[in-house]
């Protein structure tokens, strides 16, 4: 009998599974924190969590509401100044997995968190870059967690805040971006991964209960489907229990916040 779970919970579980023990992760609040802490509570107890507030090796017992939560600092191996976290720890290539969200993503995994519409007179002014461009640039791998809809999966970004694969194969190298770029895009419908030859996102997994047409309809470009398209395993009882235990630690956090 399958347990019921939300799309956000599936996203968190899928991301958690994609993490290996002892990996070093650069994390923001919301689903990435949930996924990382779920991994820590299940198969990856030595996962290293780094928050751009300067917390290295945070081990929170509650999901953080902000990246500067006191518990992150209190449980960290060390807290360093913000220039150091960016220069010594992110830029120098010490991050295995960088998590990002965005308002828009394109087929090459480039991200927009700056504006919807025109830059100078936007329809919506978004929060802006924050740590994202350098996470996108420097992390060995980037995992993007984002809802999939024609509003988010767009053919052309209104603004390129962070570089995925840029304009195509070789563009990251040409731009001098030393990290590997987006290696997984985890959505409420499935998982996409880049085709190494074309640097284009390809749907490789569909979550349980989601059909291919739904994914195509939710994508603003002609979505490529992997020939060996697979089905994500649903969350198992253990994962769900841990996840819900974690979610209960932070009742004010909007569920499904990405």
């Amino acid at each position: 009998m399958t347990a019921t779970y939300t799309a956000s919970e599936m996203m968190a579980v899928a991301a958690s599974r994609a993490l290996a023990d002892r990996q070093v992760c650069f994390v923001g609040i919301g689903l990435p924190s949930t996924a990382c802490n779920l991994a820590r509570a299940t198969h990856a107890p030595h996962l290293v969590l780094i928050y751009e507030s300067g917390c290295i090796g945070a081990k929170p017992t509650r999901l953080p509401l902000s990246i500067g939560d006191g518990e992150l600092a209190d449980t960290s191996d060390t807290v360093v100044p913000v220039p150091e976290i960016f220069n010594y720890w992110l830029q120098a290539g010490r991050i295995d997995i960088g998590f990002l969200g965005a308002a828009q993503i394109d087929r090459r995994g480039n991200l927009n968190s700056t504006v919807i519409g025109d830059y100078d007179h936007p329809a919506v002014r978004l929060p802006g870059a924050g740590g994202a461009p350098e996470i996108a640039s420097a992390a060995r791998e980037v995992y993007v967690m984002i809802r999939q809809s024609p509003r988010t999966f767009v053919d052309r970004l209104d603004f390129r805040t962070s570089v995925g694969f840029g304009d195509g194969p070789g563009d990251r190298e040409r731009l001098g971006l030393r990290g590997g770029g987006p290696k997984k895009v985890i959505t409420d419908l499935g998982i996409l991964e880049p085709d190494p030859e074309t640097a284009e996102l390809v749907l490789t997994h569909l979550h349980p209960g989601v059909e291919v047409d739904a994914a195509r309809d939710a994508t603003g470009w002609d979505l490529r489907i992997a020939p060996d398209l697979a089905r994500t395993e649903p969350p198992d009882a253990g994962e769900l229990a841990q996840l819900r235990r974690l979610e209960a630690t932070q009742p004010t956090q909007k569920k499904g916040d990405a």
Partner: protein, 275 residues
């Protein structure tokens, strides 16, 4: 040597209309009390430099204190967007807001260059992003040894830095611990600085993770207990998460916002106690 003075006097001494003012605190130690004093004093035309504009920035912007925002990421984390920020930028209310946006890495390195007496800093960034070509603080630079193309960001040297810290001693030496953010750099990069503190003590006992700003590197110190609220001060207070959630509704509407400011800032004393 830092002078210990009352909050109103300190703010008046350190911040002038038209100044570029850095107000830093990365989730932690956000200088709300000082910011509210800026509002009470009716300051105008400030260029606010803040890595992570937040509720405090929203209050300053919505009160017409700020004409330009130098920032990296603006929002109310985990809650939503900043309504006063959007209103000012998109509709010019109450005064037009100019934006000078950055990546965090870009802005922190501008502070580092400013604190280091250099005119620019070097980082890996900006290439291939939409900010390239749009912002004046970035230019490409080539490594003289490897030929590699990197990013140069211009130093930032604000007129004033305003930060909150745990405590100062009677000589005005300041001690900050917990998430220390970019406050040291902001203070050292600025011509003048105001540090609000929870308390003044006889002696700064050593604290793990603490940084100390010597009194001679600070302009003014003012006691403001709870001065970071709704942000927190490690060792003294907790983050008021409910406040941040409630801010969304308060700030969504111009009248509700103005009423809140009127009650909680304009007619409150330096301790934020409404009249």
């Amino acid at each position: 040597m830092a002078e210990i003075m009352g909050l109103a006097e300190a703010v008046a001494a350190v911040v002038r209309d038209g100044d570029t003012v850095a107000m830093e605190g990365f989730t932690h130690l956000i200088p709300h009390a000082a910011g509210h004093e800026l509002i009470r004093q009716g300051r105008r035309d400030l260029t606010l430099v803040r890595l992570t504009p937040d509720v405090l920035a929203d209050q300053l912007i919505g009160s017409g204190v700020v004409r330009k925002l130098v920032f990296g990421w603006g929002g109310n984390p985990g809650v939503g967007s900043l309504h006063r920020f959007r209103d000012a930028f998109q509709h010019g209310w109450p005064v037009p807001l100019e934006l000078d946006e950055h990546s965090h890495a870009g802005l922190v390195n501008r502070y580092v260059a400013g604190a280091s007496g250099l005119p620019f800093a070097v980082l890996r960034g900006y290439a291939g992003t939409g900010l390239e070509g749009r912002v004046g603080h970035y230019r490409p630079i080539t490594c003289p040894f490897t030929g590699e193309r990197l990013a140069a960001v211009a130093a930032i040297n604000p007129d004033a830095a305003v930060v909150h810290a745990q405590r100062a001693d009677r000589d005005g030496n300041v001690q900050i611990w917990g998430i220390v953010g970019v406050q040291k750099e902001a203070v050292l990069a600025s011509s003048r600085s105001l540090v609000t503190v929870e308390e003044v003590v006889d002696r700064l006992d050593p604290v793990p993770g603490a940084i100390v700003l010597p009194t001679w590197a600070v302009t003014a110190v003012a006691v403001a207990p709870g001065g970071a609220h709704p942000s927190y001060t490690a060792g003294y207070s907790e983050r008021d998460n409910d406040f941040y959630v409630a801010w969304d509704a308060v700030s969504r509407d111009r009248d509700a916002f103005r009423a809140w400011i009127d009650t909680h800032v304009l007619h409150a004393d330096g301790a934020g106690v409404p009249a």
